[in-house]
Amino acid sequence: MGKDRSKITVPLVAVLLGFITGAIIIMITGKSPLGMVQAMVRTLTGFDIYGRSSYNPYYIGEFLLQSLPIILTGLSIAFAFRTGLFNIGAEGQLMMGSLAAVTVALLLKAPFGFHSLLCLLAAAAAGALWGAIPGYLKARFNVHEVVVTIMLNYTALHFSNWALLLFGSVDRVKTSEFPASASLASKFLADMTNGSRLNWGIIPVIIALVLYWFIIEKTTFGFSLRAVGFNKDAARYAGMKVERDVVMSMVIAGAFAGLAGAVITLGTFNFGRVLPSMEGYGMDGIAVALVGGNAAVGVLFSGLLFGMLKAAQPLMQSSQIPREIAGIIQSSIVLFVAMRLGIEALLDTLKRKREGQK
C-alpha cells in the first residue's frame, strides 16, 4: 500500500526539487525565476501570466511535438527494462527506423494515409531488427546488451548517413521532400495550434502507449517478460522461455524506438536528414523511463514533462534565462528520482514530525 503511493509521490517530489534547483540557479545568475515560470506556463497552456501578449496555442502544439518522440523512446527503454535489459540503443533503433521511413516514403507509391502507415510499419520493423541484434547476442552468447547497443548506435548513425545520400541530395544534408501521401503533417492540428508543427504522429504515440500497457500488464507474454525481469532463475524453473523473452523484449523495444524515428522524420521534417551527431532522443528516453517508473502512464507524464522543458527553452531565452537551465532541471529531476530512498526517508521524517505536533 505504502509502496504504491511512493511510486507516485517520489517522482512528484523529485520533479518539484528539480524545479527548485533550477530556480535557485537562475537566482544565482542574477535573474528572476519568474521568467522560468512564465516560460513554462506559456508552453503548457499558451497563456502569458504577465498578460503582455495574447493567448497563443502555438506553444502547446510545439510542446506536444517535442514530447512525441521521447515518449516513444521512453517506452522503448521501459519495455526492455521490465525484462531486466538496459536498452541504451534506442537512439540507433530510432535512426534505423527513420531511415526505413525515408526509404518507403521516397521509393514507394501508395494512396494517401496508407503510404504513411506503410512508412510507420517499416520504421517499427527496422527498429525491431536493430533491437533484435543485441537481444540475440545476449540470449545466445550472453554478450552484455549495453556494449552492443552503444556500438550499434554509431553503426546506425554512420550507416544511415551514408544510405540517405544514395537517395540523391542537393546539399548533402537532406533528401528531397516526401510526397504528401507519406507525410504525417496535419493541417487540422496545425490550424488548431496556430501553425505549430504538431502532426498526426500523435496517433501512433497513443496507440503505442495503449499497446505497451496492454502487453505488459494484461498478456501472458508480458507476464513472462516481467517474471524474467524480476528473477531469471525462477522464470526458467517455471518453464518460461527466458532466451526467447530476452530477444522479443529487445525486438519490441526496438520497434517503439523505430516508430519514434518515423514520427520525427515524417511529422516534424518531411525529409530525411544527414545528422552530424546523435540527437539524444535515446538518452532522453532513459530519463523519461526512469522518472515514469517504467509504466505506461508514468512514461506519458514524464514524456510530457521533458517535452515541455525542451519546448520552453526558446521562451526562457527571450526572458534572458539561459536555455541550459532546462537541461539542468531535467538532470536534477533524474538525479532526485535516483535518490528515491533518500526522498522516501525525507517524506517519512516529515510525516512523523507532523504527527508528533498533533
Binding site: 501472458t220 513472462s224 517474471a227 524480476f230 532463475d233 525462477a234 522464470a235 518453464g239 518460461m240 522461455k241
Partner: protein
C-alpha cells in the same frame, strides 16, 4: 529481581499485520533468554525494536532499569546492545580485524593502527575461546568462523547484551555444538544473551528462560529446565505437535521415475554426479541423504531441466525426458519443490497470486488467447491460500517478498501439489522453517505419496530423511554408495555411508 532489559506492552503494526501486540519481555542479567515462535510470530520484529531498527507505536523499553528511547542502532550500541544478524554483514575481502574495527578504526595520527586492533581482537578471541585468527580474510574462513567474527564485533564494542537472530540456520551440526559452548562461555563472563530461534533442541541445550510468541502475541515465559519440548512446541503453535510423522507403510507400485547412469557436470566443469542410477516407485518416498555438496544440487537441476546432462537417461513413466525443456517436463508430470525457494521457487517481486500461476498462466482459466484473466488468477489464489493455510498480510495481492519463509514455502508447496504431478522432486523442503510448518509440509508430502505419487526427497537433515522416507539412498561424491530400507537402518549406519563407506544395496 533486577532485569537488564524490560520491554513492556510493545505494539508494532505493519500493513495488514500486527507484528507485536502488547508484548512484554523481561530479561535477567547473565541469562540465556530464548525467544521462541513460528516464522512470522513477531520475534524478529521485537528484537529489531530493541536494536533500534524499528520504532514501536506503543510500549516502554527499559535498559538496566532506566527508560530509554532507542531511535537507531547507534543508540543500541551505546546501551551495550549488539546483534548477530542471520545474514552476516561482513566485507568479504577484508581481514577479520578490519571487519571488526569497521566504523571505529583505531589510528595513530592520520594512519590506521591495525596492529593495536589485532592485539585486542586476539585477546578477546582468547578470553571467550573463539579461536579466531585476526589476520585471516573473511572469504577464506568457514561460515561458523564468520559468525564468530560477528560475535567478536559486538564484544569489541563492549556489548553486554547480545542478540542472536536464528544463529544456527547456516551452521553444520558440529558448528552448532561449538556455538552452544561459546554462548555458555559468554554468559559465564557476565554477558546476557537473547536467542531468537524456532528450534526446540537448541533452547533445551542452552537457554535458561524461554518467552514464546504466537501471531504477535505473548503466550508466556517459562523456565526451560521445568518445561518439556512438547509443551514449548504446543505454546508456540497453539496445538499439540507431533514430532514424528504419522504414516502407514508404503505400498509401492510400478517405477515412475528412473534415473539411468546419469552424469552431470557443475558450473566449474567438474563431474559432480557420476553414473548415478535410482528408481522411485509409485506410492513411495525415496530419501536421498548425504553431506552438502556431494552432487545433490546438480542432480536435482539435471532432473528438473536446469542443468545439462553429460550422459545417461531420465525416464518418467518409461518416457525419456532427459532432453526435454523445463516446460515439457512439467507437463509430462514432474513436480518440484526447489532447494532455494527465493531464487528458484518464487518471483519475489510478483504478488502471491501471480506466483501461484507461474506454470499455468498460459492456459485457461488463467488466460484466454494470450490475455490474462486476473479474476481467475485471484480466485485460484484465494482457494490455495485457504486450503494450504498461507498466511499473508494482504491476501492474494501480497508481494511474495513480504511473506515469511514458512509461508513462502507453503505457497510453493500449494502450487506444486495443486498441479498434481505424478513424480515429485522435493529438495530441502523445510530448511529454515519452524515445527508447525515442518509438520504441515511433511504431512502433505506423505499425503501425496498415499495418493500414489512417487516422491524423491533430497535433504541434508538426517532427521527429515529418516522420518519421511520409505527407502533411503545415500549419495557420496556424486555416486550412490548404498540403498537401505528406512525401517532397517539407523543414524550410525547412515552417517558411515554418508562418509563414503560402501554398503550393498538391498
Amino acid at each position: 529481581m533486577a532485569y537488564i532489559i524490560e520491554m513492556l506492552d510493545i505494539v508494532k503494526t505493519f500493513p495488514g499485520i500486527r507484528a507485536n501486540d502488547g508484548v512484554t519481555l523481561e530479561v535477567e542479567k547473565g541469562a540465556v533468554h530464548a525467544l521462541l515462535g513460528e516464522n512470522g510470530a513477531g520475534k524478529s520484529t521485537l528484537m529489531s525494536i530493541l536494536f533500534g531498527l524499528y520504532r514501536p507505536e506503543a510500549g516502554i523499553i527499559k535498559v538496566r532499569g532506566e527508560e530509554v528511547s532507542i531511535s537507531d542502532p547507534n543508540v543500541a550500541n551505546r546501551l551495550g546492545i549488539g546483534m548477530v544478524h542471520q545474514h552476516f554483514k561482513l566485507v568479504h575481502n577484508f581481514t577479520v580485524t578490519e571487519n571488526i574495527v569497521l566504523g571505529l578504526e583505531p589510528h595513530k595520527g592520520p594512519l590506521l593502527d591495525i596492529k593495536t586492533a589485532e592485539e585486542r581482537v586476539a585477546d578477546l578471541s582468547k578470553k571467550y575461546a573463539l579461536d579466531v585468527d585476526p589476520r585471516s580474510v573473511i572469504e577464506d574462513i568457514s561460515v561458523g568462523m564468520q559468525q564468530r567474527v560477528e560475535i567478536l564485533k559486538m564484544l569489541y564494542r563492549d556489548a553486554e547484551i547480545l542478540i542472536f537472530d536464528e544463529p544456527t540456520a547456516v551452521l553444520t551440526p558440529h558448528e552448532i555444538h561449538e556455538l552452544m559452548g561459546i554462548m555458555r562461555r559468554l554468559v559465564e563472563e557476565g554477558k546476557t544473551i537473547l536467542l531468537i530461534t524456532h528450534k526446540l533442541k537448541e533452547i533445551k541445550a542452552v537457554a535458561d528462560v524461554c518467552t514464546v510468541l504466537r501471531r504477535g502475541k505473548l503466550i508466556g515465559t517459562v523456565k526451560v529446565s521445568e518445561t518439556s519440548e512438547e509443551r514449548m512446541a504446543e505454546m508456540m503453535v497453539g496445538r499439540e505437535v507431533s514430532f514424528t510423522v504419522d504414516k502407514t507403510p508404503a505400498i509401492p507400485g510400478e517405477v515412475l521415475l528412473e534415473i539411468e547412469g546419469l552424469s552431470v557436470k557443475n558450473s566449474k566443469g567438474l563431474l559432480c554426479v557420476r553414473n548415478l542410477s535410482l528408481k522411485v516407485r509409485r506410492g513411495e518416498i525415496l530419501g536421498l541423504c548425504g553431506v552438502d555438496g556431494n552432487g545433490q544440487t546438480e542432480l536435482v537441476h539435471a532432473l528438473t531441466g536446469l542443468a545439462k546432462i553429460e550422459s545417461g537417461r531420465i525416464l518418467l513413466k518409461g518416457r525419456d525426458i532427459s532432453r526435454l525443456t523445463v516446460k515439457r517436463r512439467t507437463t509430462a508430470g514432474l513436480g518440484h519443490i526447489p532447494e532455494d525457494r527465493q531464487r528458484y521457487g518464487l518471483v519475489l517481486d510478483f504478488r502471491l497470486d501471480e506466483n501461484l500461476v507461474v506454470h499455468a498462466y498460459g492456459k485457461p482459466p488463467f488466460s484466454h488467447f494470450g490475455v490474462l484473466d486476473y479474476r481467475a488468477i485471484k480466485k485460484n489464489a484465494d482457494r490455495l491460500i485457504e486450503e494450504f493455510d498461507v498466511r499473508s498480510g494482504e491476501g492474494p495481492s501480497t508481494p511474495a517478498r513480504s511473506l515469511s519463509g514458512g509461508n513462502q514455502q507453503k505457497a510453493i508447496v500449494a502450487r506444486e501439489i495443486d498441479r498434481s504431478p505424478e513424480v515429485f522432486v522435493v529438495a530441502q523442503p523445510t530448511r529454515g522453517l519452524d515445527v508447525g510448518a515442518i509438520e504441515y509440509i511433511h504431512k502433505r508430502i506423505v499425503e501425496e505419496r498415499d495418493k500414489g505419487k512417487a516422491v524423491l526427497l533430497v535433504s541434508l537433515e538426517l532427521d527429515e530423511i529418516m522420518d519421511l522416507s520409505d527407502r533411503i539412498a545415500v549419495i557420496f561424491n556424486g555416486e550412490i554408495v548404498g540403498e537401505v530400507d528406512a525401517s532397517a537402518t539407523d543414524e550410525n549406519e547412515l552417517s558411515l555411508m554418508m562418509a563414503g563407506s560402501k554398503r550393498k544395496a538391498v
